[in-house]
């Protein structure tokens, strides 16, 4: 029996969310193939997600098929076979940051509060025994639009608007509305497949689609392109409406993978020819429970709405914000600094007022200068070291950013949104204010000012990694994310495993004080025994080697990607300088990689 519930749930699926998130934060990566990888216990990097945003004219006929779970070396080999060696050479390899992904997803979820007060992070992690194989992390949002869709002109209008608005912000999304969270999730996940089937010449399915969507079509009329490649901008259907109570008929031809069943269950069912939801629903649930336990019947019940599957709303659901709209557009260059400061101050006060009551402070703020219909309104975020409720400090930070921000030509309004808030730190009050207490807060103020003007990536704390390759043996963890209320996953992971990592890292006098961004080929004028340099040129001077220490062989494993094979030496010259050089075991040339400054 289906259709018991009268609720309507909208699911927004964000395909390849780890890569999308990286591209949102670093738009410069759009030119390169991006691989987000995870390192397992043996040090093997496996691909979590990947993409290469390239214009259609550059795409090849054969698309590289790289599935999540491939080792990085396999993925690069596939990429090389299609796009040549240069593609793998320019590929950007990033470590997985699942907490960072969820943090941005939560921010997006708070933004979605404008559609409904109930917004939840989608349950994308596949349950069961397959966790170690699973490469999925949370990458969807679920919104209860039971009573709010009519405010946006109906469900079709709402789902289409959500997809388009997100696309305007550079986020590729697919959305679907159905009776239950499970059905909505399955429809959003298979939205492209539904569109593909709808393009077939005839058939019952196609009729159902056209009838149920009441004429809703893709924004582009051209046929969808099957895209195993990472072009998420392929012209597939991006939204689906499942009519009330008809999820069984509507989604019956979708693969059982969309029911979020464990992979071993899916494989077992596939062996007996059960690959579609409709086939699975025809089987008696008792026999399914005897064979696979309670997982499969439970998922079916959730899908059909036989059992309640409530959403867990995001915390801090009150999206604090304040907006000021000018009566007439104001020229950016004519904006008076004093007036602008007063305006920001009043908006910040409006945002802070409800927070102060609950002893909370702002830890992340977004400022937007709206323009008169012109795309490219100025938006920036101000991250804080620790939550604060001090309005003057927040205004200072915002004004610091404005010093380095290019104002749009015409400004129609200014809006401030609190993206995240946290509890204010409780400190023991003392009779006499000690120096340490005041110093701590001054240090926080300093870090906030530095990150506001220079950017969050410009104030970092070094953390060691357990990697032998010098270039990746440490990471610069942004301070705001390390100490902030919503910490970056990468930083937190590093902190958690700090002790073990330090024991594996090579530190101390064998490592140089300065490391060149790229090893530089050295001009060696004469060689001594073992082919070691005796004289070499560096910065217009001849250096004569007096002492040598080495070799220290650094060789990375083949499964990590491009192999690094180097013999490092420390040379002390007649001028007293110490240099860290290596001889490439492949090219047999000498490179300077660091100096002991």
């Amino acid at each position: 029996m289906s259709g018991k519930s009268t609720s309507r749930i909208m699911t927004i699926v964000l395909p390849r969310w780890p890569v999308q998130r990286q591209l949102l934060q670093q738009p410069g990566f759009r030119e390169f193939p991006i691989f987000v990888c995870r390192q397992n216990a043996r040090g093997v990097l496996s691909v979590v997600s990947w993409a290469w945003v390239m214009p259609p004219e550059k795409r090849r006929g054969i698309q590289p098929v790289i599935q999540p779970g491939f080792s990085l070396s396999e993925a690069l080999a596939v990429l090389t076979s299609v796009y040549g060696e240069r593609a793998s050479r320019i590929a950007r390899i990033l470590h997985e940051d699942s907490v960072g992904d969820i943090r941005v997803l939560e921010t997006l979820g708070r933004w979605c509060h404008r559609f409904s007060p109930v917004v939840a992070i989608g349950p994308d992690v596949i349950p069961g025994k397959v966790k170690k194989q699973s490469t999925h992390s949370a990458s969807s949002l679920q919104i209860d639009v039971s009573d709010t869709a009519r405010f946006f002109g109906g469900e079709l209008s709402l789902v289409r608007m959500v997809v388009w608005v997100l696309a305007a912000r550079g986020i590729h999304a697919r959305a679907a509305i159905a009776d239950t969270p499970a059905a909505s999730w399955a429809a959003a996940l298979c939205a492209g497949r539904i569109a593909t089937k709808s393009q077939q010449p005839s058939g019952d399915f196609c009729e159902r689609i056209s009838r149920s969507t009441r004429g809703s079509t893709c924004p582009k009329k051209k046929g969808p392109r099957s895209s195993p490649h990472g072009h998420w901008l392929s012209r597939q259907r991006r939204w689906v409406l499942v009519p009330p109570g008809q999820q069984q008929q509507f989604l019956g031809s979708m693969p059982i993978m969309s029911l979020r069943l464990p992979v071993d269950v899916i494989n077992s069912l596939a062996e007996v020819g059960v690959e579609l939801i409709g086939q699975l629903l025809r089987l008696p649930r008792v026999s399914l429970q005897e064979r696979f336990g309670s997982v499969v019947p439970l998922q079916i019940s959730c899908f059909l709405g036989d059992v309640s599957d409530p959403l867990t709303p995001l915390q801090e659901s009150d999206l604090l914000g304040a907006t000021h709209s000018f009566e007439m557009p104001v020229l950016g260059r004519d904006l008076d600094g004093k007036y602008f400061r007063q305006l920001i101050e009043s908006l910040v006060h409006q945002c802070l007022r409800p927070l102060v009551v609950t002893n909370q402070g702002v830890s992340n703020l977004q400022v937007r200068l709206d323009t008169n219909g012109v795309p490219g309104s100025t938006v920036f975020e101000v991250g804080l070291y620790k939550p604060t409720a001090k309005a003057s400090h927040l205004v200072d930070l915002v004004m610091l950013r404005f010093e380095r921000t290019h104002f749009p030509r015409e400004i129609t309004g200014v809006s401030i949104e609190v993206l995240s808030a946290g509890a204010l730190p409780c400190r023991q009050q003392t009779l006499f204010r000690g120096p340490a207490q005041s110093d701590m807060s001054q240090f926080e103020i300093l870090l906030n000012r530095l990150t506001s003007r220079l950017g969050s990536g410009a104030v970092v704390e070094p953390r060691l990694l357990s990697d032998i390759q010098p270039e990746v043996s440490w990471v610069a963890a942004p301070v705001v994310h390390v100490m902030g209320t919503a910490g970056s996953c990468r930083s937190v992971h590093l902190l958690e495993s700090k002790k073990t990592q330090i024991s594996k890292s090579v530190v101390g006098p064998s490592r140089p004080t300065f490391l060149l961004a790229r090893p530089r080929l050295l001009e060696v004028s004469s060689f001594g025994v073992h082919g070691l340099p005796v004289r070499f040129f560096w910065k217009g001077q001849i250096h004569v080697v007096m002492r040598t220490r080495g070799p220290e062989r650094i060789e990375t494993a083949w499964w990590r990607g491009p192999t690094v094979r180097r013999d490092y030496y420390i040379f002390e010259t007649n001028r007293g300088g110490r240099f860290w050089m290596f001889r490439g075991l492949q090219k047999r040339a000498w490179f300077l990689h660091g100096t002991y400054g």
Binding site: L446, A458, M483, S505, V507, G508, P509, V534, R549
Partner: protein, 330 residues
């Protein structure tokens, strides 16, 4: 009836025995190292801490580093940021010692302003850990260490920060802001060109907070005026320099001398530190004292009495033969 002719206090003090001290104070005011007359010598002595390098302490005017001042470290060969002469190593050693030296606060972080983005933190990570063991165990620090077990976000973890400014204006602004913060032990930077106005701003900023600014600069900066209290030229140790010059003058050195070793010479480094003057400080220019210093690169502290063993850089028996050969030639 006789009238007492009033005399100016300055002239009256000059006649007394303390006139010299008064003049010294006046010279400090003029030179910018002290702009407030109330900044008397007792306060000076109370804010002087050891640099962690006894040799350097002997060289400095106040027998240590005065908090709230600037120090300049000049490279030997003028190579700039990525020089290999060791000035940065010494500046970092002093900075790491300063963060543990101040007893008023538990631990003050060291901040590096690295515009070139070339600093490699693993080289000094062991130094930070070694300073943790010598810190006084105050009650609050013990409390925070206990609480650290339950949380990953503890300030005890953070001893070193790096700031990456994008341009020169940001670099100067960041240094100025950092030097104004009293909860920072030292700021290390590599500014190549600094105007005297910017340096004066930094000096006043450091003075207001008690932070110490340590700036590694190319040797060309010696010709520029400075507001730094001390300016140290870092060079190769005299003993090693003589040996190297001697070996080079012998002509064909046996190639075995340059054979790679797995010896321990990389764990220490010998320097000659010389206090040099700026354009505005003529008093020191008369005599430029220098000291020899051997730095233990494992701990960031000075090797006291290590000179003799360190200079023996021929480590294997085979190399000792070469050494004798060189001597015979000489």
């Amino acid at each position: 009836m006789t009238k007492n002719i009033p005399t100016y206090p300055l002239f009256s003090k000059l006649d007394q025995a303390g006139g010299r001290a008064y003049l010294q104070q006046l010279s400090r005011i003029v030179s910018g190292s002290s702009s407030l007359p109330k900044y008397i010598d007792e306060e000076f002595r109370s804010t002087v801490v050891s640099s962690g390098l006894p040799s350097l302490d002997r060289l400095l005017r106040h027998k240590g580093v005065r908090l709230g001042t600037l120090m300049e470290w000049l490279e030997a060969d003028g190579d700039g940021v990525a020089s290999a002469s060791g000035a940065t190593t010494l500046a970092l050693a002093v900075a790491v010692h300063l963060q543990a030296a101040n007893e008023l606060s538990e631990r003050r972080p060291v901040v590096l302003v690295d515009r070139a983005r070339s600093f490699y933190p693993p080289s000094i990570m062991p130094w930070l850990e070694s300073t943790q063991s010598i810190l006084p165990q105050s009650s609050s620090s013990v409390r925070s260490r206990v609480s650290k077990k339950n949380t990953v976000n503890s300030r005890e973890e953070h001893l070193l920060y790096i700031v990456y400014p994008a341009n020169e204006a940001d670099e100067f602004w960041a240094i100025d802001q950092l030097l104004r913060c009293p909860s920072i032990a030292a700021v290390v930077g590599w500014p190549a060109r600094v105007s005297s106005i910017a340096m004066r701003r930094w000096q006043l900023a450091a003075k207001s907070s008690g932070a110490v600014g340590l700036f590694v600069r190319p040797s060309d900066a010696r010709r520029e005026p400075t507001w730094a209290e001390s300016r140290i030229q870092v060079g190769l140790s005299h003993s090693l320099q003589n040996r190297y010059q001697h070996a080079a003058s012998c002509g064909n050195i046996d190639p075995a001398m340059r054979q790679p070793t797995s010896g321990h010479w990389i764990h220490s480094r010998a320097f000659t530190l010389m206090q040099v003057s700026g354009q505005w400080d003529a008093m020191v220019a008369v005599s430029e004292p220098s000291v020899e210093c051997v730095l233990d690169l494992t701990s960031g502290k000075e090797h006291v009495g290590f000179h003799e063993t360190h200079m023996n850089f021929y480590e294997t028996t085979e190399q000792s033969k070469c050494q004798e050969k060189v001597r015979r030639v000489s």
